[in-house]
């Protein structure tokens, strides 16, 4: 057998054939012959090379250097520099750094572990993937108090924005004696830029149902409502189908698995008011009233829907529960950080190369999320800031890129995790414009129940519009801060208490930009 010092592997596939690979090989043979290398270098025509490049792709052994999109014109350079002198041609090398290979992180997913794999409209698929095991366990082997204790131990915190420990919330309602208790699912995902709950409900509706069932059993509720946005048509139809299937299987209904436990789950379609994401306004809306928040206390856990004890949980929170019950709190605590356990689903949008969603451990840095799961910044753009958590969120500058993203780490920087929306802005975007858009949103969505919010959002919008036009002064900027701070202390509900976060983070981190746009 002839000994070659080097082998050139040429991938033959539809793409390379279309790019003229046969002519290329002929030209390469000629060039090698010209350089008197025919006896030293072997050309092998082969199939896939293990990567996906453009046009004609070749790999050279023993160096294991790969080139993509090589053309006949490149051959003399390749032969002269690489095959003769042993210097790989950098210009043509497969760009491993810029080549985005999506990481779906399925190995570390909890909430979305089935999404993208199973058929959400087929209950058997969910059951086959281990679905309703936790429900079976919760119903037959665990007492309600055990379920609450397990969820408490897992450290699961509410994923709607505030991050209140779910087990603690349940423990307020569970011991109460009442003829009727309710579980209400907050699926009114209204935070701009957030669509994580939609993906959970679309991709794995049964998992949410299972979470609701376990919660209902834990607190002793026999009725549950899913309050969902009207725009989420696909979620609604899939959830309706999932409820129907679960009823047919007797997983839901009366005397479930002969345990004597009854549960019914109903869907209520919201009309799209932002304030209805606030739990007491949501309850008002559910009762058929105008969506205005209620005075707290009494909290919904004591007097909620129709004055009955009610647990209101976010979709993502409940979707975590089946895993905790099936695998145990210990297993759940292996994810995330000690203070904030579990995973978080983020939606990444804006000026990144590949907007979309990801589910990662709590405490993953913003830099990792952007670079690994969204393919980095859009080509040619630099990172300037990210709006994290929607309108009720904060604007994080580049020095915060390495801060751990979890409830307690962000708290140290007066920032919040919020709903999990990450809106990335490039260096050409204006922070003032962004703030204008946020404050316009708040003005539009204020329910008008209390004066600080009703008038405050109006005045904030007036001031930011003035600043945006270049007619404002730094006094106006400081006035905005004062108004928002007053709203924080005096507003009735979280809506009026929220604008301070975006305003403070914008002014503190990007003060120069305000100085530049205002009058001296």
């Amino acid at each position: 057998m002839k000994y070659y010092r080097s082998h050139i592997l040429v991938s033959i596939n539809e793409t390379s054939i279309a790019a003229g690979v046969h002519g290329f090989i002929q030209a390469l043979r000629n060039e090698l012959a010209k350089a008197d290398l025919t006896d030293e270098i072997n050309i092998l025509e082969t199939g896939p090379l293990g990567f996906f490049g453009r046009g004609i792709c070749i790999t050279v052994y023993p160096e294991n250097v790969s080139y993509e999109a090589v053309k006949v014109e490149d051959i003399s350079e390749l032969v002269q520099d690489h095959f003769l002198k042993g210097r790989p041609v950098k210009r043509l090398m497969l760009d491993a750094v810029n080549k985005f290979s999506p990481n779906f992180n399925y190995a570390n997913r909890i909430v979305l572990r089935n999404s993208g794999i199973i058929d959400p409209e087929n209950i058997d698929d969910y059951i086959g993937a281990g679905g309703y095991e936790a429900w079976e366990k919760a119903l037959t082997q665990m007492q309600p108090a055990d379920i609450v204790a397990e969820v408490k131990k897992s450290g699961l915190r509410g994923r709607g924005g505030a991050g209140f420990p779910a087990g603690v919330k349940w423990s307020f309602t569970a011991p109460l004696e009442a003829p009727q208790k309710y579980v209400v699912v907050n699926a009114d995902e209204g935070e701009p830029g957030t669509f994580k709950d939609r993906l959970i409900m679309e991709g794995d509706p049964h998992q949410l149902l299972e979470g609701i069932m376990i919660c209902a059993r834990a607190i002793g509720a026999t009725k549950a409502y899913i309050y969902i946005r009207g725009e989420y048509k696909l979620c609604i139809s899939r959830l309706e189908l999932a409820i129907k299937q679960a009823k047919e299987y007797g997983i839901l209904g009366t005397n479930i698995f002969e345990s004597g436990f009854d549960l019914d789950i109903m869907i209520k379609i919201g009309a799209g008011a932002y304030v209805c994401g606030e739990e007491t306004a949501l309850i008002e809306s559910l009762e058929g009233n105008r969506g205005n928040p209620r005075w707290k206390p009494p909290f919904p856990g004591v007097k909620g829907l129709w004055q009955a004890p009610t647990v209101v949980n976010n979709v993502e929170t409940l979707a975590n529960v089946p895993f905790i019950i099936a695998k145990g709190a210990e297993e759940y605590m292996k994810y995330g950080t000690p203070e904030c356990t579990g995973t978080k689903v983020y939606t990444i949008l804006g000026d990144v190369a590949h907007p979309g969603l990801c589910e990662v451990d709590m405490g993953t840095t913003l830099r990792t999320i952007i670079n690994e799961y969204a393919g980095g910044m859009k080509k040619g753009f630099r990172f300037k800031a990210a709006l994290v958590g929607g309108a009720a969120g904060v604007i994080l500058p580049d020095r915060m890129l390495d801060v751990k993203m979890d409830f307690s780490s962000l708290n140290q920087y007066a920032a919040v995790l919020g709903s999990g929306a990450i809106l990335v802005m490039n260096e050409h975007q204006s922070i003032v414009d962004m703030l204008w858009s946020i404050l316009r949103f708040f003005r539009h969505e204020s329910c008008g129940k209390c004066s600080p919010c009703k008038n405050g959002t109006q005045q904030l919008y007036r001031l930011i519009t003035k600043i945006k036009k270049g007619e404002g002064t730094m006094d106006d900027v400081d006035l905005m801060h004062t108004i928002a701070e007053t709203m924080l202390h005096t507003s009735f509900c979280a809506l009026g208490q929220s604008p301070i976060m975006a305003i403070r983070s914008a002014i503190e981190n990007f003060r120069d930009e305000f100085i530049a746009i205002t009058k001296k």
Binding site: R54, L112, I127, G128, E202, G250, F257, P355
Partner: protein, 121 residues
């Protein structure tokens, strides 16, 4: 109405079916049918797959749907799963691309590398 024992049977059957899909079915095509996918034309993609498969009388292929995987910007996303091979994910699919994937990948066993966005995930 089902009992717990029935549920167990369903689970075993479903798991068995998932395995069988790898045995009797040579290739499983999973189309991402979330809102983003549908907005970008996942229904047409699914329909084209079904049409092409019917036209060619392919009996060892299974088409099913799922939720979103994560790459909203590359929807419609389609997974091709073959026993013993890494999963191939195609992105930005269109009916024309589907036709090519059916000919090249499903019939001739050659991955259409131009449309691939990920493998093995």
């Amino acid at each position: 109405m089902k009992t717990l024992a029935d549920l167990k049977k369903i689970r075993e059957k479903a798991q068995e079916e998932m395995k069988l899909r790898g045995g009797n079915v040579r290739i499983k095509i999973v189309v991402g049918m979330g809102t983003s996918g549908i907005a970008m034309g996942a229904r047409e993609v699914m329909k084209t797959f079904l049409e092409e498969i019917a036209n060619r009388n392919l009996t060892d292929v299974l088409v099913t749907q799922t939720g979103e995987k994560g790459l909203s910007s590359m929807e419609p996303v389609v997974d091709l799963i073959e026993e013993g091979k890494p999963k191939v994910t195609y992105g930005n699919m269109t009916p024309d691309k589907v036709k090519k994937v059916v000919v090249e990948h499903i019939v001739n066993g050659r991955t259409v590398s131009d449309y691939v966005v990920a493998t093995g995930n």
